[in-house]
Each structure stands twice: as C-alpha cells, then as structure tokens.
C-alpha cells in the first residue's frame, strides 16, 4: 500500500467511503441491498417508528426464500407464523416501494442465487443483505457481506453503513484440480485448514490459476462459504468469465452503458505488487474430495481419511470441542467416514443449487436408482434454474433415480420450511453449515460436494464419486 499499489478489496472500499470522521468508523455507501423475509420485518418496523422512508428503493431488492415451501403451494404445510412473515414482507415492500420477487414471481429464488442470475450483482459494487452468505456475490469482484437487522434498517434509511476497514487475506490456489474434485472441496479444504475463526476480521481474495479456471458458479460456491472461515467477505477479481456471465442478463447494463460498465469493472483487480495482511497458499493438485465429520465447517477432512481422535489434539478447548462433536454425531474416532450410513441426501442451498451443481449430481445418478431407505431432496436455487433444469431433463434423471424434485428455496439447509432431518438421522448435504440441529433438531450433517452427495445417495452410505 505504501507503494501506492492496492488490492481489489481496497479499490472497492475506497470507491465507497462517503466520509471518515475522527475516531468513528467509515461511512460506507451500499450500492445494492438484498432483503428476505426473515431478517427484514423488524427493520421496516424501525423505519415506520421513526417516520423514515427507504432512501433508495431502486437499490433495494427483495425475495422470499428461507421459510418458503418447496412443494407446490397448495400442498404446503400450513405454518401460520411463516405465512405471516411472508405476508409482512409483501406488505412492507408495497408500502416502501421495494421490488419483490415473491412466490408468485417466475424469478423468485434464493437471494444469493437470483442476484447474479438477474445481473444485479456486478463487479466493484458494495452489496449487503441480512444474511451471512452474502459473501457469495464476491465471486463477481463485489464487496459483499452479511449484516444484522439493525444494519438492514440503517441501509434502508441511509443507503450507508458504519464500517471499520477489515484486513486482507489472500488465499492463493495454484495448480489443477484432480478429476472429481470441485470448488466445494477447495473451500472445505481451506476452512479445515484455517478453522472457523481463521479469517475473522479479514476480507479474503481468492487468487491463483485454480481459481481463474473455475466457472462463475463454482466461484460463487467458493466465496459463499468465506463466512464459514469467519471472513467478512470473499472476493474474486472480475475477468472475461465474469463479463460473459453478466452480458445480456435482464438487469445488467445494456448497449453503451454496458461498454462503460465493462471499462470500469476491469479496473477492479489487485495491482501487481500490492500486499495483503496475510496469505495462505493451497496446491490444488493435492486436494481430494472433502467431507465434514463434526459440528462446524472446520471439522472437515479428505473423504478417504479417518475421523481424528480427540487425543491427537494438544489444545484442551479443541479437544473438548471434538469430543462433544463426535458424541453429537455418534461417530468413532479413527474410523473411516466412507461407508458411514446415510439416511438423507440434500442437494441445494446458496452454496450448491445452480445448474452446474445439478448437472454434476445428475451425471452421477443418470440411469441409476438411489439406495433403498435413502431420501434424496434436490432443490434448485431459483425458479429460473428449475425451469432450465427441466428443459435439460435433469428433473427426470432425479425423479427416475428416486429423488424428490422440489420448488426453489433454502429448504433443508436451514430447515425453516418443514424440509428437515429427524433426530439422529445422517445427511450428506451440499449446504454450508453442519452445526448441531441446523438441518433439524438432532439431525447430523456431513457437508460435501454435489458429486459426493449423489454418490452417497446411490450407495446409501458416504461414498466417493470417483469410485461409484
């Protein structure tokens, strides 16, 4: 920085600082504010109590995803509380003039899926949402992070946030991924290595040939789980793939505005010689398919490995945490995870519910049937993805294999809509959190890629897609 060289993060940050006064945090301008039903109602109530308006409704976009049914509407389990929350979002958006992609819209879907899909997620932007997986949008070179509901209210009212400048962490992934190793394995590998608090206070920039080689959907998978390492955000500099993804999308710029935007977007890269506060290097060639065995995303390992023994850890707090996790998971230390019984397989969530994810899972399942006794849910990230997948015949592959093909939403990632594990059940899930009870009270989650999920559904136990 002393050299005048700046990182991608610093460029986006600097372009959005409205002012910095004395000891107070910077006032950061927010270009795009995404909202959903769960973390917004109290913020709108706050506005109403203060007699405030939404300052820039055209920079605010709402959808419904967390507690929405994934069975056709008329079959939905009636949950009066969820219905009331969805109704509240509809009323709030109408009252304050905010565009809402409701369940009735053909463009509804998981908030972090529809932003890029509509072309409103763009390089160099600041993007926030009352949702920690907002880091997903960083795949486009945006500074995108999750906020609490008080901050949702701040952004609605002022289009700004008070922010302290985070530090920077470069995660450099060089080399070529082996066949059967995916973006999900890169990010699970990183979190296993640096831990769930390893990037606290930092914005990650993912660099290196293995990141450049990923398509945009895979980059979203990587950035999505940055928060699981504690990072404020994850970013990837825009390149030709970014532009190709955005060009022609409904809400991306068009014509002369597109040309001007592209010229500007291309400036959002880290200068040669710019420095990061920390760097982690990963050799892509050494990565294997990853899977978690414990109760946070940092408890992950190569799928062919053995579950670590608490006795092998020197730190007493970590040892206690592992003991507690293995007890909850009812797993034995030193045991292989391959072959572990699976009751449910979930393909979906803002981490892995896009076309490429569905194609990977379908590729494993095509012409086969899932194991007896296994329940498999495939939940597309948006209605547009559902439509596209059906046009490609992926829905038939899933249904013929014995899986359930559902409507778009967060579904079993957060288990707010009735899609949930029963106590004691084991799931291989393509989602992002294996916390206790995350997929239903007492449920036990193994996080993995869509390939591992599909292979495990076929076998009825944790299986390596490379050998199925």
């Amino acid at each position: 920085m002393a050299s005048g060289k700046t990182t991608l993060f610093e460029k986006v940050w600097n372009a959005h600082v409205v002012t910095e006064e004395g000891a107070a945090p910077a006032i950061l301008y927010i270009d795009l504010h995404l909202i959903h039903e769960v973390t917004s109602p109290q913020a709108f109530t706050g506005l109403r109590e203060r007699g405030l308006k939404v300052r820039r409704p055209e920079r605010t976009v709402a959808t419904m995803d967390h507690s929405t049914p994934t069975l056709p509407k008329h079959l939905a389990t009636v949950d009066p509380q969820a219905v009331a929350q969805l109704d509240k979002l509809e009323a709030n958006c109408a009252e304050f003039g905010v565009t809402l992609y409701s369940l009735a819209s053909e463009k509804q879907g998981i908030v972090h899926v529809i932003g890029p899909e509509l072309g409103i997620t763009q390089p160099g932007m600041t993007i926030v949402c009352g949702d920690s997986h907002t880091s997903t949008h960083g795949a486009f070179g945006a500074l995108a992070f999750g906020i609490g509901t008080s901050e949702v209210e701040h952004v609605l009212a002022s289009q700004c946030l008070l922010q302290r400048k985070p530090k920077t962490l470069e995660v450099r992934v060089e080399g070529e991924l082996s066949p059967g190793v995916t973006a999900k394995d890169i990010i699970l590998g990183l979190i296993a290595r640096i831990g769930v608090g390893g990037a606290t206070g930092h914005v990650i920039e993912y660099t290196g040939s293995a990141i450049r080689a990923l398509d945009m959907e895979a980059r979203m998978t990587v950035c999505n789980m940055s928060i699981e390492a504690g990072a404020r955000a994850g970013m990837i500099a825009p390149d030709e793939k970014t532009l190709a993804f955005l060009e022609g999308r409904e809400l991306a710029p068009h014509g002369a505005a597109w040309d001007a935007a592209v010229a500007r977007w291309k400036t959002f890269t880290t200068d040669e010689g710019a420095t990061f506060d920390q760097t982690v290097a990963i050799d892509a060639a050494t990565l294997e398919p990853m899977i978690t065995y414990g109760t946070h995303p940092g408890m992950g390992m190569p799928i062919s490995g053995r579950i670590p023994a608490p006795g092998s850890l020197s730190d007493p707090a970590q040892r206690a945490a592992l003991e507690k996790a293995l007890k909850y998971m009812n797993l034995e230390a030193d045991a292989a995870i391959l072959g572990q019984k699976v009751d449910v397989v979930f393909v979906g969530s803002c981490t892995n519910s896009r076309m490429s994810d569905l194609r990977l899972a379908a590729g494993v399942l095509k012409g086969k049937t899932i194991a007896k006794g296994v329940r498999m849910l495939v939940v597309p990230g948006s209605k547009q993805i559902k439509k596209q997948a059906e046009a490609e015949g992926l829905d038939r592959i899933f249904v013929d294999a014995g899986a359930e093909w559902r409507e778009a939403g967060c579904s079993m990632c957060i288990a707010m809509n009735g899609d949930m594990l029963k106590p004691g059940q084991y799931a291989v899930s393509t989602s992002n959190r294996n916390f206790e009870g995350r997929q239903g009270p007492g449920g036990r989650t193994f996080l993995a890629s869509p390939l591992t999920a599909a292979a495990s559904a076929l076998r009825g136990h944790v299986a390596d897609a490379r050998t199925v």
Binding site: A24, G148, S150, L161, L162, T200, G230, A260, A320, M416
Partner: protein, 191 residues
C-alpha cells in the same frame, strides 16, 4: 438502545469454543416479526437436551447478566435474533476469548457488551467460577475494566465510537442520518 455503564453480576458459564448463532437461537424461532420475547428461544435445543443441568437452567443463573463463553462466540449466521435473545434473557455482557465479526456488531447495537479477554484471564475467571458458582464480576465500560472475583483486573478493547454509543445509549442510525449532505454528494459523484 439501553446505555451501558457498569454492572456487578454473577456469571453463567458456557465456556465452549465456536458457539454458533444457530445454537444461540435455532432457526425455527426466526419466523417472528418482532424483536421481543426471544429469551425463551435462547439455547433452546441445548436447554432441552441437558435439562436442569444446563448452565442457563441452574438456580445460580437467575438474574445473572454475564455469560462466560469460549473463543469465536457467535460465529455463523448473521441473525440479530441472537443478541435479541441474550438481552431478553437478561444478559448485558459476554466474556469470551474472541467474537465473530457480525455478532460483535449486532451485540453492540443492542447494548450487549462483548468483552474479549486473553487466555490467562479467561482461564482464571473460569477457574474462579468453577470453584464457586456464586462469584461475581464487575464491568466498568468507561475504564474498560473487568474485575475478577479475586480482585484482579483486566482491561478489554473496544473502539472509541462503540464505547461512546454504549455509554450514552446513542443509536447509530441517528448519527448516520446526520451525514445526509455527504451521502448525497457521494451519490452525485458515484457512477
């Protein structure tokens, strides 16, 4: 927001590392449209699983305003329901080795003070609390001091702006809105 100046309180001890906000408030309790009344949801699944033995359910927890946790408290989901539930239950301060970023911000906005202490202070407080469930700590925000039951003290970090907001019960939104002219100027020059 309620101002925070000082307190003298017993401690609920839950010294686990990486306590995520899904444990603090399980997702099924997020279907509310108000901030109030989430105290019943606080650690709901852990409370059910461990019954009367769970630290929050023990008699000495009654009236306690300080929670002693491990490292990286509040990781995971950005749900502000976590501090709402902690405050509704009666907590005003969390002592931990470290905090997740979003949780820390959410806590301060709700008058809940995150007190990060070093490993030695944490170990000493935990030992004192383990030996006697009724010991108390004193917290003084103005001097950024935590006084342990044995009379020893530790200072804790907090940025000057957050400290000012907490001491005076200042709400950040009012401060932000006072910069309307700067915000409008930014909008004029930004693409």
């Amino acid at each position: 927001m309620n101002a925070f100046t000082s307190l003298d309180s017993r401690i609920v001890s839950l010294p686990t590392d990486d306590i995520d906000t899904d444990q603090i408030v399980p997702a099924r309790f997020l279907k509310v449209t108000s901030k109030k009344g989430l105290g019943d949801a606080l650690f709901a699944d852990w409370r059910t699983a461990r019954g009367d033995e769970f630290p929050l359910s023990r008699p000495e927890a009654k009236g306690a305003q300080v929670l002693l946790a491990g490292a990286n408290f509040g990781c995971g989901s950005s749900r502000e329901h976590a501090p709402w539930a902690l405050v509704d239950f009666g907590f005003r301060a969390i002592v931990a080795k470290s905090f997740a970023d979003i949780f820390r911000g959410n806590a301060i906005k709700n008058g809940l003070l995150p007190i990060a202490v070093d490993d030695a202070t944490h170990a000493r407080l935990l030992a004192l609390r383990t030996a006697d469930a009724n010991v108390t700590v004193q917290v003084d925000l103005a001097s950024q001091t935590l006084t342990l039951p044995d009379g020893s003290t530790a200072t804790f970090p907090i940025d000057a702006f957050s400290k000012h907001c907490l001491l005076n019960g200042v709400d950040e939104l009012g401060y932000l809105l006072s910069f309307e002219a700067n915000i409008a100027a930014h909008e004029r020059r930004a693409p």
